[in-house]
Symmetry: none
């Protein structure tokens, strides 16, 4: 039994079964690498190696160069725990089916059990055969539009690798979620109150706002600025604008 | 006011800014169509139309054929409510950032506000410029591996369209969600542009903003107001405030 892989990424193997176009092999390699995967196995590729594969890899040539070519699906999956077949169509023999997202969540949850997981992608034209699909523990589908659900081979690799990577990215970046990328702290309610008082004074000074007949204008402006969750610098800029308005009016009395 | 789109899919517009490779245009069209989207706008494509675009479309030639070519980003987004920029890098001026999945959930939740949503994808080599990113309400990122996060252009379109489609696929069997609780339609990109021009004039008039030394103030204000997703009434109120400031200054010359 091989040792437990250090990271899940190191234990996901992408298997392309009889790909016809070398360009798709390169594009699949690039798609894998963008999501941190690098183990590519090719079962009876029609043309490989091929300059088209190198060209489309565009920075992921290392994944192409280290791709393993095998004659037989068995060789590609023999040491694997999970064997998962991607499939666009419903098949004659019903099989356990999950979406790519559900399978990614399951893998993140259950782990790999100490063995690589193989994800099989079929031929550009005809996908995986029934015999090949029957070798799988699970079939994975990519939800697509019913009128035209034919993803390009490398696109399908991209979406599946993206879903497999997502739970890892979530786990890695808890401390740097988009919210906390902000460079300034949010304005406090007290700072916002000061801004609203200042805003009302200026609106009165420019004859925009009549405190006796407010007509909801101030409420609408308050709703607007409350919605935006301004940071402290932004409130300082807005206060600066209000101050300059007051000075411009007073300069010309 | 344009009629409310019949389906969310009909109101998502994919905008490719200066794509160099026609093959990527075709591959993007195919990626869109697999997820039920068909509105493609090309800003200054290097080569289009081109047989490569047709060839890579592989069944999505209709999306390629109906693609609209424009000279200017403004033309592509003028009527849009949401303008969303895809970006791989962190930028100097932080902007609201969400993952593709978060944005898809938000769109499913909040609805489109009666206007199309434009998703901008930048050049193959350099992405969107800072100026283009500043035009956006929101930046969307695709979580990728930090060592090699360079998704091919069409791959990025695939992943974003896949995420946008997912909630629709989930919801298809359920009742349709209410589009939005908001009482007014969102301001369009054109209306926001008019507001920003007006704002800049007033900031100059009150000596707050020196166009020769902008010091990012206008960018920060743009970011603030882009973030808030103002409705048309709110923009009218803000324009009214600006007008009253101008009158108050002129009244006392």
């Amino acid at each position: 039994m091989p040792p437990e892989p250090a990271t899940p990424a190191a234990a996901v193997r992408i298997v392309l079964v009889e790909p016809s176009h070398p360009g798709n092999i390169g594009a699949a390699a690039r798609a894998m690498k963008t999501m941190g995967f690098d183990e590519l196995v090719l079962v009876r590729p029609e043309r490989f190696p091929d300059p088209q594969a190198q060209w489309r890899a565009a920075g992921a040539e290392d994944v192409v160069d280290s791709a393993r070519v095998v004659d037989d699906l068995d060789e590609a999956i023999a040491d694997c725990g999970w064997v998962v077949g991607t499939s666009a169509r419903a098949r004659r023999v019903p099989w356990p089916v999950e979406t790519a997202e559900q399978f990614a969540a399951r893998l993140a949850d259950e782990g790999l059990g100490g063995r690589p997981a193989a994800i099989l992608f079929g031929r550009e034209t005809s996908g995986l055969s029934n015999e090949e699909l029957n070798r799988c523990n699970l079939h994975v589908v990519i939800p697509a539009h019913p009128d035209y659900s034919s993803l390009n081979l490398a696109m399908a690799v991209q979406v599946v690798c993206y879903e497999l990577h997502k739970p890892m990215a979530d786990a890695e970046s808890h401390e740097r979620r988009p919210e906390s990328h902000w460079d300034r702290r949010l304005a406090s309610a007290r700072e916002m109150d000061g801004f609203y008082r200042h805003l009302e004074e200026v609106l009165v000074a420019i004859d925009f706002h009549d405190p006796e007949a407010p007509r909801q204008t101030l409420t609408r402006l308050r709703r607007l600025f409350n919605r935006v969750r301004a940071d402290a610098t932004e409130v300082a800029i807005l206060r600066g604008v209000l101050k300059h308005v007051e000075q411009a009016i007073q300069r010309n009395p």
